[in-house]
């Protein structure tokens, strides 16, 4: 087990009805580590991220962020189910970017980026705008700050979504197939932003992706998920050069054939 991980999944299980979606999964992610999570459709990748974002509860097992439990709390030596205040405090450490952007359509790019900092972090409007301006600049959209989502391309919307999540100053960023809904010509601009984030910021990043090329050059480590378990994990180079598991090899063959 890793010393002092940023994120720890410990024997985590998630069911939908009788269907086991995540099955006793263990995973440690180090501070500032970039982990790529790959696997076939339905293997549990989104479920994993949603539990860490506290959008879905675990059915059993524990999740820790910076050594603190998300899935329960300790009060006077007693273990209690997490209350809302606990969940919200822990959730503040994590940010998530969705496949379908999920920007707020009635707010401009700037509005999207300042709403939560003002309402949750208690920033003044001026401070929130200052921070959001920096972030929109970083994702290359300073000139589009007053545009509504419907006036932006998919790639631009996704970059606003990244800025919006960063505005909450998370320590861990989750990316769930953030380029899957994009036109091919805009995929690059989003991946470039994610790459720069990784290089220039102290961020732990977990990236679910179907883009093996990106996983290989971006990630420190690649985890292959199969039926809710991590079937194989290795440093990115080893993983693609020399996959050990027969399932991993089959998956990589299938993905490479597909494109």
């Amino acid at each position: 087990m890793m010393q002092d991980p940023m994120v720890r999944f410990q024997n985590v299980t998630k069911r939908h009805g009788s269907h086991i979606v995540v099955d006793g999964l263990n995973l440690d992610v180090a501070r500032n580590e970039k982990v790529a999570i790959i696997g076939a459709s339905g293997s549990g990748k989104t479920s994993l991220l949603r539990m860490l974002m506290a959008l879905d509860p675990v059915d059993s097992g524990e999740i820790f962020i910076e050594g603190e439990p998300l899935t329960h709390m300790e009060r006077q030596g007693k273990r209690l189910p997490p209350d809302m205040a606990h969940i919200r405090r822990m959730r503040g450490k994590v940010g998530m970017v969705f496949q379908s952007f999920n920007l707020f359509p009635h707010l401009t790019a700037m509005g999207n980026c300042i709403e939560a900092p003002m309402r949750v972090l208690g920033l003044t409007r001026a401070a929130a705008i200052e921070r959001a301006t920096e972030l929109l600049e970083m994702v290359g959209l300073a000139s589009r700050k007053d545009y509504y989502p419907s006036q932006l391309s998919g790639g631009q919307q996704q970059r606003v979504a990244i800025a919006r999540a960063l505005a909450m100053r998370p320590k861990v960023m989750l990316f769930d197939e953030v380029t899957s809904a994009l036109d091919p010509e805009t995929v690059g601009e989003v991946l470039t932003v994610i790459r720069r984030l990784g290089e220039e910021h102290d961020l732990t990043m977990m990236v679910v992706t179907h883009q093996m090329g990106f996983a290989r050059e971006f990630a420190d480590r690649v985890c292959f998920l199969h039926q809710g378990r991590i079937c194989e994990e290795a440093p990115a180079r080893d993983f693609f050069h020399n996959p050990q598991n027969e399932r991993t090899r089959a998956f990589l063959r299938a993905v490479l054939e597909a494109g």
Partner: protein, 219 residues
């Protein structure tokens, strides 16, 4: 002679007075309907425990005639210490009745906002109340404004029911003029024309608003 112009012009000022009462009942009644309806829908979302009692209340109000509700409020109210003048009681009854319909309209609006909007708000750590008021509400309302407008017109056309408790609105005034002069043609026709004109104008306004909203969505 079927239509007496002189008589029609003579009764116009009285009908004008009554029209003010009709418009007053419409505006106040609809203001109540729109806000109470929204309040009910917000309560239902913010506190799921209130959903069942609210549904029952809404169903009850929608399943009984407005006229009976007006009577209950005006004639039975005093028995339990609720003494209201006719206009207030009538406006209140109309407002509550249409609040039930409006709350269903609002509900449809809220349900049409994708779940992913709630989740995006949650992932940004917005609490449920803030998410509801700042993220979901502004997306839920514009699409239902035309439907609300239709209820405004429907409510307006039901205000003659207030004549049943002798509110001096248009219909009641027309009836009084008729019984005094034994001429019903002019007052009733004029009242009908007034409703027709106002309804046509409102319908046009609603279409205008609707067009602006669709434009806004495409923005």
């Amino acid at each position: 002679m079927i239509w007496d112009w002189a008589f029609a012009i003579e009764i116009l000022p009285r009908l004008g007075q009554a029209a003010i009462v009709t418009v007053q009942a419409t505006v106040m009644g609809f203001a109540l309907a729109a806000t109470l309806g929204l309040g009910l829908t917000l309560a239902r979302i913010a506190w799921p425990r209130t959903a069942l009692p609210i549904s029952v209340g809404v169903e009850l109000v929608r399943s009984t005639p407005l006229l009976i509700q007006i009577f209950v409020l005006y004639f039975v109210g005093p028995e339990i210490g609720l003494v209201l003048d006719a206009l207030t009681a009538g406006t209140l009854a109309i407002g509550v009745h249409y609040a039930a319909y409006c709350s269903e309209v609002y509900r449809a609006g809220f349900e049409a906002v994708p779940r992913s909007q709630w989740e995006a708000a949650e992932a940004l750590n917005l609490n449920r109340g803030t998410a509801l008021m700042r993220i979901i509400l502004p997306q839920a309302i514009p699409p239902v404004i035309p439907a609300l407008g239709n209820y405004l017109v429907a409510l307006f056309k039901e205000t003659p029911l207030l004549s049943a408790i002798a509110v001096l609105e248009l219909m009641q005034t027309a009836k009084i003029i008729g019984s005094e002069s034994f001429r019903y043609t002019e007052p009733i026709t004029l009242v009908g024309l007034f409703f027709l004109g106002m309804s046509l104008i409102s319908a046009a306004l609603i279409r205008l608003v609707e067009a602006r909203i669709t434009q806004g969505v495409r923005r």
